[in-house]
Amino acid sequence: MKKKKLFTQKTVPYLFCAPFLLSFFIFLLYPMLNMICTSVFNLQGVSTYVFVGADHYRRLLTDPHIVSAVLNSIGFTVGIVVVNVVFAMLLAILLNNRLTPLRNVFRSALYIPALTSIVVAGIFFRLFFAGNADTPLNLLAGLFGQSAREWLYDTKLTGILALVFTSTWRWLGMNLLYFLSGLQTISPELYDAAYVDGANAWQKFRYVTLPGLRPILVFVITILTYGGLRMFGESYVLWRNSNTPGDIGLTIVLYIYRTAFGQFDMGYASAMSVVLFAFLMVLNAVFIKVFGIGKGGTGR
């Protein structure tokens, strides 16, 4: 009798969901609640937590590095969204065209960087952007009469450009793949109909391709935005560990990492994480509203 009760139609789904729910509670929900709790305490020594109330949140308002980190993260996010959407979409259209020679070779070649580790790519690009006169970039700049410069230690703009370049190199192929798959779902009949209606290439792109790619566009913009705002690896590797001079490559997550693990200032790092989380949630709501995600019928 007991056995029968345990495996009823009602209980079994819960049992099957239990692994996920348990993992979620233990590895995600608990650390999150703990983070909120830690944000109002200050760690002194190894395990003494002293209650400090909203002090950490007040400190956030006057911390000059927060401004740099937020500006860098937003600059980087805007950069990768624009570059990865425009370039990936144009390349996808080009590689989707039957007349493009060697298109399968290019598809594979552009995807390969996505398979490399960020550490390997980061070390390569760190040397690529180095200030020595014989680095590839400085040699290239020399051809245009520019003198050698330390691209990673120059200005915030060159820093962000270096981050966008490195990140685009790695992820362009992946985004290209998304757009290619999107393009292949657009029915050829729509192009035929547009042709019959006398549409030119631009009109075909504007009224057939672009609406057809809308779901993919929303998806790519969303993942790029969140990826950009929580970017850590590129910055950590390009400037070695977490010291980016003059906050040139300091991103929000890198600053949280540096505060938590470089200085054991767990309370302040938690406060920053709570604010970042709240900001991302608000952004989430905006995205849902603007793009109409989850409403169904978002099709063309």
Binding site: V12, V46, N132, E150, L152, W239, D247, G262, F264
Partner: protein, 453 residues
């Protein structure tokens, strides 16, 4: 029914798997990417341990320290066959090791027996009311007279020694004799920083090369110069004095050298980068300022300069200047160690014995804390360092012996915050961006350190 049982078992396995994953006994398995090594069986027939080996764990963030301790364990097992040890070592990146250590000390379980702690992070673990490391007085005090006390004192809190250094970390300047020769400058003629600047002008004129490079993302070089000028980040009581006039004077001196081209900012941000190794190896600059341990960077990464580098004590600001010493890594025994007495005796033999001190030179290429080995045959034996720099390398360390002073690197738990700010902001703002005057930048940093809790 059978299907239901299987489904239930599978579900139960899935439910338990994440939890089971967490419960493996600590220390039993090495973390991914870590190097686990056993040193219990070393030493050949004579060294075969007869008793049951006591397991000891050792964490570090420097691969070479692992080699040193494995060698020390072999030596221990050969000398104490009735009391062998089985040493497991794990190497992690610097931040990972320290945060892992913090978590294990917080949770009261899983910490290693013996651990290397970076000198700039040591004070993070040493705060009032908590003792996470074992006092090492009983192994240090009997040998104290042979040691350079300022380095021992770095890890001294309330009269107890909680860590034991590997090396003195004597400030040292390395000259490219080929470049100096081309400008007719002799290293021995450079006594003060003013002489150094003047020599720089000659070098620049004759060769077009800078005399030195200044780091913009690493504090140690400027820290040496600041401490030599009577400055520091904190005083002995842990009060922030980073905005002192002495520190500002040093930054101003660096700015002056940058202004006339006798110095440039270091390619790659600091002298521990591939960019700089290549630059230095190709004769990019006439000198570099670091600590004695930098010898191995030359032998490993700049082989082109073999026989062309002179080792000297750094120039002084004025006669009678002292040289700051701050070691680099303190080895500590955690309170979670179950065999504290054995671990202490092992550590003593590895580092405080004469033989151990000799190995610090022969295995690691560092200047050992035990000054009585500096002038013995051990330091004169031919090795890759003597081949590269000549036989009298230790004369430099000896010449500074009475001038060493303890730096206040472990006086405040805010030191790691201060070093982060210097590495990431101060030097770049002042030396590279030139967006703030030395004094203004130092004042801003002092304010920020004050705000750090």
């Amino acid at each position: 029914m059978k299907k239901k049982t299987i489904a239930a078992l599978l579900a139960a396995a899935l439910v338990l798997s994440p939890v089971m994953g967490c419960s493996s006994p600590s220390g039993e398995s090495a973390a991914p990417g870590s190097a686990a090594a056993s040193a219990a069986d070393g030493g050949g027939d004579e060294a075969q341990p007869s008793g049951e080996a006591t397991p000891l764990t050792f964490w570090t963030y420097v691969e070479q320290h692992t080699e040193f301790f494995i060698d020390a364990a072999d030596t221990w097992n050969a000398a104490h066959p009735d009391e062998p040890i089985e040493l497991s070592t794990e190497t992690y990146p610097v931040p990972d090791m320290h945060s892992k250590l913090l978590v294990t000390l917080q949770s009261g379980d899983g910490a290693p027996d013996i651990v290397d702690v970076n000198v700039a992070r040591f004070s993070d673990f040493m705060q009032e009311g908590e003792e996470v490391f074992v006092p090492l007085n009983d192994i240090i005090e009997p040998e104290k007279e042979h040691f350079l006390e300022p380095v021992l004192d770095i890890y001294k809190y309330n009269g107890n020694y909680y860590g034991l250094e590997y090396h003195v970390g004597a400030p040292t300047i390395f000259y490219n004799t080929e470049i100096l020769g081309a400008a007719g400058v002799k290293p021995e003629d450079i006594v003060t920083w003013e002489d150094f600047h003047e020599a720089g002008k000659k070098v620049l004129e004759a060769t077009g090369k800078p005399m030195i490079t200044f780091d913009v993302s690493d504090m140690w070089q400027s820290y040496i110069m600041m401490c030599m000028n009577g400055g520091d980040y904190f005083d002995a009581d842990g009060n922030c004095i980073i905005d002192s006039e002495e520190n500002a004077e040093v930054l101003q001196f660096m700015l002056d050298m940058l202004a006339d081209g006798t110095a440039v900012t270091t390619p790659g941000g600091n002298i521990h980068t591939e960019e700089f190794y290549g630059y230095m190896a190709q004769g990019g600059t006439a000198s570099l300022l670091e600590c004695f341990w930098y010898l191995n960077r030359f032998t490993d990464y700049m082989t082109e300069l073999s026989g062309k580098v002179a080792v000297a004590s750094p120039p002084v600001w004025e006669e009678g200047n002292t040289y700051p010493v701050f070691g680099g890594t303190g080895t500590a025994i955690t309170v979670q160690c179950e065999n504290q007495d054995l671990a202490k005796r092992f550590l003593a033999e590895a580092k405080t014995s004469e033989e151990g001190a000799g190995k610090i030179w022969t295995v690691l290429g560092f200047d050992p804390l035990r000054w009585d080995v500096w002038d013995t045959d051990v330091t004169k034996e031919q090795n890759k360092f003597t081949d590269y720099f000549g036989e009298d390398i230790f004369d430099v360390v000896l010449s500074m012996k009475d001038g060493y002073q303890k730096s206040n690197i472990t006086a405040s738990p805010k030191f790691s915050a201060a070093s982060n700010l210097v590495n990431s902001n101060l030097l770049f703002q002042v030396l590279s961006e030139k967006s703030a005057s030395p004094q203004d930048a130092l004042n801003a940093i002092a304010q920020e350190i004050e705000n750090t809790q």
